[in-house]
Every structure is written in C-alpha cells, then in structure tokens.
C-alpha cells in the first residue's frame, strides 16, 4: 500500500459517491459554530462575545435587532476502526492465504481515506477483550501510528472467542465504526453490531472470509477438530466430505443472516475473501456504501 494508491482510491470514492463527502460520519451536520465554514446557515441574535465581524448590518437594519451570520462548519467526524485480532483471524487456509493480511490492509486503507477526509480516526484491536486502543486523531501522521499498531500486533490469545462488545463499551457517542472480522463469534454478532449502531454514527461491517473456515486437509486421518480459540475439541462423526459440506451450509447461513441483520439496521456490509486484492475489496465496499446511500 502506498500513498498514490490511497489518493487514487480517494478520487474513486468521491466519484462513486456522486460528489458527496466521503464518509460523512457522525456529527457532520451538527456543528453550528461560526468560524471556519463558508456556507451560510442562519441569522442569530448577537450575544456579547460574538465576533463583531459576523454582524450583518443590512439584516439588522431590516429586522431592528442586531443579527449575526452563522456559517455551517465543515466539522471533522469521529471514526473508529475495530479489527478482530483473534487467533481465528490468523489461520491460513489453502495456499497460505491469510485473512489477517487482508484485514490489516483494509483497516489501513480505511484509516487513510478517513484521515484524508479530515476525520479523526481511532483504532481498537480486540478479541475477547480490547488488546490495543489508539485514541482518535486527525492528520496524515496519525496514519503511520495506526498502521504500525495494526501490522505489528501479535496474535491474539482469546480463550472464549471474539466479542466486539467490550471494545464498543469504551467508545463515546457519536462515533462511526468500521468493524473488520471473520464474525465467527461464538456468542453471535447481533449484540456487538447493535452496540456499534447505537453509537450514533455509520457502521460498516466487513467480513473477511477464508477457505480455512470450512476446509479440512485431504489424506490425513483426522480424529477430531479443535477450536483455534477455545481449544474445545470434538470428534468427527461423518466423513470428511460430508463434514465440509455441512460446514459450508452453516457458513452460508451465517453470512446470509449477517447480511440481513446489517441491512435491517442500516449498516453497510460486505464480504471479502482472503484470496482477493484489498483494493478490489475496498472498492466493492464503497460501491455498496454508495448503493446504500442512494
């Protein structure tokens, strides 16, 4: 990933979103403080302490009271990128395809785009608890900090599976979230994602899929399967093929339910495969964002 790619992606995103600001974010329309903005918003009665340069003398003459001009400020929004760093995210599938690499690329790209749009961006790495919490900042220098945390973070050591709830509890309203995970959470995803939505901002859900989710090696006598996070171990009853088939069906059902849940809760949802290029995945998600806004 380099800056040229990010600039190109930013332009592409602007185009996809029809000139609307990329990732408006929470609080975009809420700042009514005068000052840096150019767009007129409304007149307000002059109060002591207001900048006298904002007094609209003509409107004051017409109304008989001292009025000041209030401009819409192009305020920065608060964004958090929540990345699942549990062990299941680190498992490589066939041909060494690694969903963790894709997840880190997507997280960094999102952070870059958001920072470029002037937002303040924070980072939370979580498994069954918060492992890394980088407070939100703006500016291009902050991107390097975020990227370094994401890339250098060691493998998680969750014992009970991932849960985004503990991470969300630390965030303050209004906050928009980008949640990147495999969403193979033993406790279900609804509570965690609902908590994100209740933060008052946008919620983007990116499931990073991997062939390892539903694959078993061939030619090896497998007696049992072991959960990468809980270490729970179960014996196989059926043949390998039957077991794979059943797990794929279960995964398909899980993804469908997740998509339905996101749609009904106004979240933008996309699935990226570990074998896909991160740019393609990001563009795909931006397209879905555009569709959702339309």
């Amino acid at each position: 990933m380099n800056r040229a790619d990010l600039n190109a992606l930013s332009r592409l995103a602007e185009g996809l979103l029809g000139g609307h600001p990329l990732f408006a974010g929470a609080g975009h329309l809420l700042s009514r403080q005068g000052g840096s903005g150019d767009e007129f918003f409304e007149f307000q009665t002059y109060k002591p302490g207001d900048d006298i340069r904002n007094v609209d003398w003509r409107a004051s003459a017409r109304s008989g009271q001292t009025l000041t001009r209030c401009h819409r400020e192009k305020a920065s929004a608060l964004w958090y990128i929540l990345v699942d760093c549990s062990t299941s995210m680190r498992l490589s599938g066939k041909m060494g395809l690694d969903r963790w690499t894709l997840a880190t690329n997507l997280a960094t790209a999102f952070a870059a785009l958001l920072l470029q749009s002037g937002h303040r961006v924070g980072l939370v790495l979580f498994d069954d608890d918060v492992r890394v919490h980088v407070p939100p900042r703006s500016g291009s220098l902050h991107l390097e900090l975020l990227a370094s945390h994401v890339v250098s973070h060691p493998e998680g050591h969750a014992k009970t599976g991932s849960s985004v709830l503990s991470a969300v509890k630390q965030l303050v309203r209004p906050t928009s979230c980008v949640v990147i995970s495999d969403f193979l959470w033993p406790g279900g995803v609804s509570d965690g994602l609902k908590a994100c939505a209740e933060l008052g901002g946008e919620t983007h859900v990116l499931r990073v899929a991997s062939p390892a989710d539903t694959d078993l090696p061939e030619g090896v006598p497998i007696i049992s399967l072991r959960d990468s996070e809980t270490s729970a171990q179960l014996s196989l009853m059926n043949s390998r093929e039957a077991a794979i088939l059943a797990s794929r069906e279960a995964l398909h059902k899980l993804e469908s339910e997740l998509a339905q849940f996101c749609h009904s809760n106004g979240m933008v949802f996309s699935i990226s495969g570990a074998h896909e290029d991160w740019k393609k995945c990001l563009i795909g998600h931006l397209k879905r964002t555009a569709v959702a806004r339309a």
């Binding site: 390892a212 007696i223 049992s224 399967l225 072991r226 171990q233 179960l234 014996s235 196989l236 279960a250």
Partner: protein, 525 residues
C-alpha cells in the same frame, strides 16, 4: 499369597497404564485439526465438549493399557502360593559355640528377632523347634505370645545342647518348611545342607577368637605315691597369639597357677603336680580355669571328680577262683578285693555265670597242655603279657567256639572275648606251673583290665572335649533354597494369554474402524 519375582517390572506394569493414556491423549491432539471456529461444524456438541474431554480419548486405550500391564506383570514373575502355610520346623544347631556371648546376647538369641518377623510373615500360628544334634528333642510353640515362646525357646536350647550326628534327610518332613539357626562353626554343616531340604538359614555370630581347655587328666604319681600328677591341654583356635592365666583348683583351693602364652591354632599341654592328701576327703574336685574369660566361657573351665575316678577297681572273686588268683589281685593297688557291689564280677566254675565279666572255666578232670599258644590280633594290650616260657594247660572241651579268640593254640581257644560282654578264660589258672610264674599276676591284672575295659590298670581321672568344640569361628553356610510342601503356581502364562487376548481384540476393532479412515463412530458431532 501372591509372590513377586521382580519388583521393577511390577512397578513398570502399573506405571504403564497412565503412560498409555497419556500417549493416546497426545496422539489425539496430534490427529486433531485446528479450525478457526467449531461454530460452523457443530453447535450442539460444543456445549458439552469440555465435559466429555476425558471420554473423547480413543476408548481402545484401555485395552492397550491392560495388555501392556499384563505383559509387565508377566515379566514381574508373579506366582500364586497356597494360602495354607505349611508347618514350619526351626532346627536349632546345638553346638556349644551357639552360647558364645556377643553384644550381651548368646549367639542363638541374635536370630530370634528375624525369626519372629519371618514367622509372622509366613502367616504361621505355631512352629516346631527341633534340635539338630540332640535326637528326639522337639517342641512346638504357639506364636500368640512372643515373650512366652521366646522363653520356652530359651529353655529348650539350654536343655538340648550337644554335638552329635546330624539328622539324615529322611528325618525332614517333606510337608514342612525347614529353617536352621546356626553359626556354621560345625564344619560338617555345609556338606550336610546339600542333602537336606533346608529353606532358610539364620547365620549368627561374629567372634572368632577363643582359647579353651580341651583336656585334663590326673593320676597318681609314679615316683611320689602321695602326690597326683596331671596335665591340661589348652587350645588357641584364634589366629593370633593369646595369653591366659591357668589356675588349678582342688576343692575350690588354688593349688597351681601359671601364665601361659599360646600360639595361634596350636594346642599346648601344661603338666602340674598335686598333693594327694585331698583324696581322703569326701570330695576331691579338681578343676582348671583360664582367665580372663573370653566370649565362649564354656571351655574356659574343665573339672573332674578325682575321688570317684581314681579309686581302685572293685573285684569280687569267689573262693572257687583259688587263693593265688585272689592274692594276685590283692597285690595290685589298682584293684580292691571286696564283696561290695560295683566293679568287676568274676565267676570260676565248671560252667561260669554267663553274666560275669570274667568267666574262668574249671574242670575237675586233668587239664590239657597247651602247645604254642599265641595271642590273636584281637587281644590288643593283652598281648603285652609275654607267655613264652610258661607251660599252660587248659580246660578240655571248655571252649564252645563262640566269641572272639584272644589266645589260642592250633587245637583250641584258650581265652576269648564273649559275644556280648565279658571274657572267657579256659586256661587253668590254678595249675601249679602257672601260679608260680612271675607273669601270673600280670596275666590276672591284664584279664581284669580287659574285662573292665580299662586301658591302664591304674586309674586315671580324665575329662576332655573335642578340639572342634573350641572352634567358635562363625562361617557362612551356603544354602540351596528349597520350598518343600509349598504349592506355587506361576501366573506368567495366564498373564501372557490375557495380554494377547486384549491385543487381538484391539486389532479386531482397529480393522473394523479402519474402514472409516480413522473416524470414530462414537463421536457425537
């Protein structure tokens, strides 16, 4: 009762069970595949997977553990012994050396603690003690009261001390267990033990040094009739030079003393001279004492009653024996012609009393001249009487041919030893030619001495021990363990068969389940 040949394999047999389980657990982990989440594979099993964690091990581990365990037990050499403990006979070596005092206890007492433990371990409620050397001495003790049986054991030991022939193998009951308490000082034991079914030997004793009195003899002095002359023999059976003080006591009065230096393993004879006056008293006890005493005190003292042993031999010849015969006896100080009982009985008659010790055959008819009489080899010291120039005559038809000839001619037996006892004399002891000869009293004395089975006419008081009795050196006794009467069944073949059965069953299961490519039909996913 279960007996174990090798405790190492016994421990290994039981240790292999957790080892096999651990190996299966490890193997299960090795054959498990890590998936990102079991969520996609089985929701309903996950909830109880932890509870069944231990049960998810391949159940065939039990078969394999049992097979390995039984093989280990087979290697341990297990055997089953009949619970009916056979009777136990404890043989006691009656050698005097068992009384050597070491550490405050006599040697035989050192074996009692171990013996008590072994008897308890054998599950016996009673046992029999039998003397190795005192025939017929046998006693049974109950083990209920240890103090009681140890006391009885002590009494038994003290009453049966001797050293005689060892019992033959036939005297060992084949249904009994036989144990022996001995110090091995009796040199006959090692070879004897090879022929008897002895299971166990309690070897006792550690002291080897001993100086003992093995002989004391006293007689009247030949030169001084009022004195007694004597000798004692002291034996040093140790391996080093020893010094002792020898004291001779007469009627508890010390009459002689000498410091003696004794070379190792060499007997030494010490002569001494005593006044004879004591013989007039009722008790004339002579004893020799060695000081200081050593652990084996029994041979540090030797004593004899000289009054009894030095008195003349009573002889009671009837008148029919003739005056010359009587005079010949009276002239010899070793004999007392008396009518009191005790001593030698003499019968002189045509047909002498067969119970008499000396039977002198007489005949009213003329006796026959003996031509060239000679002593036979059986005559022994009788042959010292030189009858060369004497003209002997003998009672015709007197000898009936029985007995052992002592003096004979070509034609007849003149003197013979009886089959059972006594001596038959067919020589005419009243013949004039005979009684005038100087050899006559010598012949009479020799005949009486032979009849009395005395080596010397003059009495000698003597007491002696075998030199081997003073040898107290304990020796290790090799024993070939024999377990007579104990039925023991080896369990090894059965254990091997069981192990093979379990292994076969396991193999069968493996073949059946192998069709499922190692998948476990017991799984619940």
């Amino acid at each position: 009762m279960l007996e174990v040949g090798s405790y190492f394999w016994l421990i290994a047999a039981f240790a292999v069970v957790p080892l096999v389980r651990w190996l299966h657990l490890r193997n299960m982990r090795a054959n498990s595949f890590i998936v990102p989440s079991l969520l996609l594979w089985a929701d309903h099993v996950q909830a109880r997977s932890k509870e069944e964690r231990g049960r998810r091990i391949d159940p065939r581990w039990r078969l394999r553990a049992l097979a390995a365990c039984f093989l280990g037990l087979a290697l341990a050499g297990l055997s089953l012994r009949s619970d009916n403990s056979p009777p136990i006979t404890v043989w006691f070596d009656g050698s005097s050396s068992l009384t050597v005092v070491e550490g405050g206890d006599q040697r035989w007492q050192q074996a009692l603690p171990e013996l008590a433990l072994d008897l308890e371990a054998a599950g016996a409620d009673r046992f029999t003690v039998q003397s190795l050397t005192a025939r017929g001495a046998i006693k049974t003790f109950s083990l209920q009261d240890r103090v009681e049986w140890e006391k009885g054991f002590s009494l038994f030991v003290n009453s049966t001390r001797s050293r005689s022939n060892l019992p033959s193998p036939q005297e060992f009951l084949p249904t009994n267990r036989h144990w022996l308490i001995s110090d091995g000082a009796d040199l006959r034991l090692p070879q004897w033990l090879m022929s008897v079914p002895m299971e166990r030997v309690y070897s006792v004793g550690s002291t080897t040094d001993n100086v003992g009195l093995t002989n004391m003899a006293v007689r009247r002095s030949l030169s001084h009739s009022d004195q007694l002359t004597g000798v004692v023999t002291i034996d040093n059976t140790s391996t080093q030079l020893m010094t002792r003080r020898l004291s001779i006591l007469v009627n508890a009065q010390n009459v002689f003393g000498e410091d003696v230096v004794l070379a190792p393993d060499k007997p030494r004879v010490i002569p001494f001279l005593l006044p004879q006056t004591g013989l007039n008293t009722s008790v004339f006890a002579i004893s020799a004492i060695l000081e200081p005493k050593d652990p084996f005190e029994l041979d540090d003292v030797i004593g004899l009653n000289a009054l009894e042993m030095l008195k003349p031999l009573n002889v009671n010849p009837p008148r029919s024996c003739g005056q010359h015969f009587r005079l010949a006896l009276e002239s010899n100080p070793a004999f007392a012609v008396t009518s009191r009982d005790g001593g030698i009985t003499v019968s002189c008659a045509k047909t002498p009393n067969p119970e008499a010790d000396l039977r002198i055959w007489q005949s009213p008819d003329a006796s026959t001249k003996a031509v060239g009489p000679v002593w036979t080899k059986a005559a022994g010291r009788l042959a010292e009487v030189d009858l060369g120039p004497v003209q002997l005559s003998f009672v015709a038809n007197g000898g009936n041919g029985d007995g052992i000839p002592l003096l004979r001619t070509q034609e007849a037996v003149l003197i013979s030893a009886g089959d059972t006892h006594g001596i038959d004399v067919f020589v005419d002891l009243q013949a004039r030619e005979m009684v005038r000869e100087a050899v006559f009293p010598l012949l009479v004395a020799a005949l009486v001495k032979r009849a009395a089975k005395r080596e010397f006419s003059e009495p000698i008081a003597q007491k002696s021990f075998e030199r081997s009795l003073s040898d107290i050196t304990p020796r290790v006794i090799p024993v070939r363990p024999v377990f007579p009467g104990i039925k023991s069944v080896g369990l090894t073949p059965w254990l091997v068969v069981l192990a093979l059965l379990f292994m076969s069953f396991d193999l069968l299961l493996t073949i059946q389940q192998g069709r499922g490519m190692g998948l476990n039909p017991r799984s619940t996913v």
